[in-house]
């Protein structure tokens, strides 16, 4: 029985990984063939690094992801504090609207924002591009921050903020010294989640970017629409390597902190 389980797991892993490995192997292929490996070359990587469109859209993606996730983390953390202290009915309304971008299909969120931006661009001086892209990213990022931070408030003692003020802290200091450390794990995971969603997003960016400001996923999409080029394979390989490194580092950091907490007696 156990053996059968192992074989099954291996089969599923093959299904998940074989396509990616084929992609990686053919990034070193001399010709453009997708089925015959004719010889080893690094040409596609060289071409990739000289491809201005790819480099500039990569830079653009990173700028937008950093800005969007930082702004959403601030906005979302403040929002969570406020929402937690709201009365029941307004709280329920706000949470339901906040969940909309998470529940709705991405295409609906993208299209709805596009309608809004079209409306604004006709009446004000708003053009599709960096600004609309950034607004769209913040909009779908903030709900994830709130989703991560809110549960931390539920775990927190509601009176410690008042207690800190009774003991002479200013509200700002009380926030910094008492609330922030309690909710910090949620804030960090919310930030990381919104950063990765921003890096990876295609659908919403596709509807809100216009033609001037492109992100890497949009560039990849237009590359797959045109002629087949092993440059995409090379790009996939680099992204795959980056992902593996990041996940290994993340795993190492997590096990290290877990060990530290165990041996150091925790809090």
């Amino acid at each position: 029985m156990k053996k059968l389980g192992k074989i099954y797991l291996i089969l599923v892993l093959l299904f998940l990984y074989v396509p990616i490995f084929v992609l990686i192997v053919f990034s070193f292929n001399e010709t453009k063939s997708r089925s015959v490996f004719s010889g080893f070359t690094l040409d596609w990587y060289k071409r990739l690094f000289h491809n201005r469109i790819i480099i500039s859209s990569l830079v653009n993606t990173i700028i937008i992801a950093v800005l969007a996730s930082v702004i959403s983390t601030v906005l979302g953390t403040l929002a969570s504090i406020g929402i937690y202290h709201m009365k029941k009915v307004p709280k329920a309304i706000v949470m339901n609207i906040t969940n909309m971008p998470i529940i709705n299909p991405e295409i609906v969120t993208g299209v709805s924002l596009m309608l809004l931006f079209v409306f604004f661009s006709a009446r004000m001086n708003l053009e599709f591009g960096f600004t609309t892209l950034l607004i769209a990213h913040i909009t779908f990022d903030v709900p994830y921050v709130i989703l991560n931070v809110m549960p931390k408030f539920a775990q927190m003692n509601p009176h410690i903020f008042e207690a800190a003020q009774d003991l002479g802290c200013s509200p700002v200091k009380a926030f910094r010294k008492v609330i922030l450390p309690e909710i910090m794990p949620g804030v960090i995971s919310g930030f990381l989640m919104s950063f990765t969603y921003s890096l990876d997003d295609f659908v919403i960016s596709y509807f809100t970017s216009g033609s001037t400001s492109q992100t890497l996923p949009i560039t990849i999409y237009s590359m797959t629409r045109r002629k087949v080029s092993p440059e995409i394979n090379a790009l996939s390989t680099l992204i795959f390597i980056a992902v593996v490194i990041i996940l290994i580092v993340k795993n190492a950091v997590e096990t290290r902190t877990a060990r530290k907490n165990n041996s150091g007696g925790g809090e």
């Binding site: 389980g5 192992k6 099954y8 797991l9 599923v12 892993l13 998940l16 990984y17 396509p19 990616i20 084929v22 992609l23 997708r34 089925s35 403040l78 929002a79 969570s80 504090i81 406020g82 937690y84 202290h85 709201m86 706000v94 609207i97 909309m100 971008p101 529940i103 709705n104 299909p105 991405e106 295409i107 609906v108 299209v111 709805s112 924002l113 596009m114 309608l115 079209v118 409306f119 913040i138 909009t139 903030v142 903020f161 509200p171 990765t196 990876d200 295609f202 659908v203 509807f207 890497l216 990849i220 999409y221 797959t224 995409i232 790009l235 996939s236 992204i239 795959f240 992902v243 795993n251």
Partner: protein, 268 residues
């Protein structure tokens, strides 16, 4: 200072960029260009009934396949040694971190007429088979892209199922099959329902997978919406109507799923 005012900036943001855009979809769906009320566009959606049926059908198949593949994976993972579980879960989830365009592109090259699968067929002496631009390819793309969305919620419920419950049911005379039906499946119900929603919603609304793997002949709801907003058929009123119908379909499905879920928590 009252703490609830901290949320003021976000409330403005939420109103302008979440609530208003959704209301605009409703507004566009029921009005003409001059702002007159009309039911024309909503009733026009009926012309695309075949596309709706195809989308629902293909994404239901993909969701079912995902459930069948993912259920044993999640179970096996949840019964592994604790320290192995984390690593295995990471290995299973790792492909998810690649952009889904690249993952779909990978299948495009595998299934293509000159792709590696047909090449292997030819080497074995078989004729080439048309693999890409079929509805099967679209379902395959959906399963490949969304399988981890099914594994993750299933695993997180199964991991909490106490090992002693399974031992108890075995002691009380259950075969492993009836243990599965009477203990594991009922206890993993919340994972099943959230897995189904997490696969079905992106699958029914995709336009990339159908475009890259389905050719022009397998249009889905997502393609239809995209064409009304960015394609040659530019018609935001019709596009908004289709989006509205899509939202209603998803709402119905989620309400149905909630009926099966004792805790009524479909999301994550």
């Amino acid at each position: 200072m009252k703490l609830k005012y901290f949320s003021a900036p976000y409330l403005v943001w939420m109103a302008v960029f979440i609530a208003v855009p959704l209301l605009m979809i409703v507004y566009f769906a029921f009005t003409t260009d001059d702002g007159k009320l009309t039911m024309k566009y909503i009733s026009d959606v009926g012309q695309y009934a075949n596309i709706f049926v195809r989308s629902i059908w293909l994404s239901l198949i993909a969701t079912a396949v995902c459930l069948v593949i993912a259920y044993p994976v999640a179970f096996i993972l949840s019964r592994m040694d604790k320290h192995k579980q984390g690593t295995m879960l990471m290995i299973v989830m790792l492909p998810m971190w690649m952009n889904f365009l690249l993952r779909t592109y990978a299948w495009m090259t595998l299934l293509g007429n000159n792709g590696i699968i047909n090449h292997i067929f030819n080497m074995l002496g078989f004729e080439s088979v048309k693999l890409i631009n079929t509805s099967g390819a679209v379902v395959l793309g959906m399963v490949y892209n969304y399988l981890p969305f099914m594994i993750l919620p299933l695993y997180s419920v199964m991991e909490k199922i106490d090992k002693s419950l399974l031992e108890a049911s075995a002691d009380l005379g259950c075969s492993s099959f009836s243990s599965l039906v009477r203990v594991i499946i009922p206890l993993s119900m919340p994972g099943i329902t959230s897995g189904i929603t997490m696969v079905f919603v992106p699958a029914i609304s995709t336009f990339i997978i159908s475009r890259m793997l389905g050719g022009g002949s397998n249009l889905l709801i997502g393609d239809l919406i995209e064409m009304q907003f960015l394609g040659n058929a530019y018609n935001p009123h019709l596009g908004a109507s289709i989006s509205l119908v899509l939202m209603v379909i998803i709402l119905v499905i989620m309400t149905v799923m909630n009926q099966f879920d004792p805790e009524e928590q479909v999301l994550m």
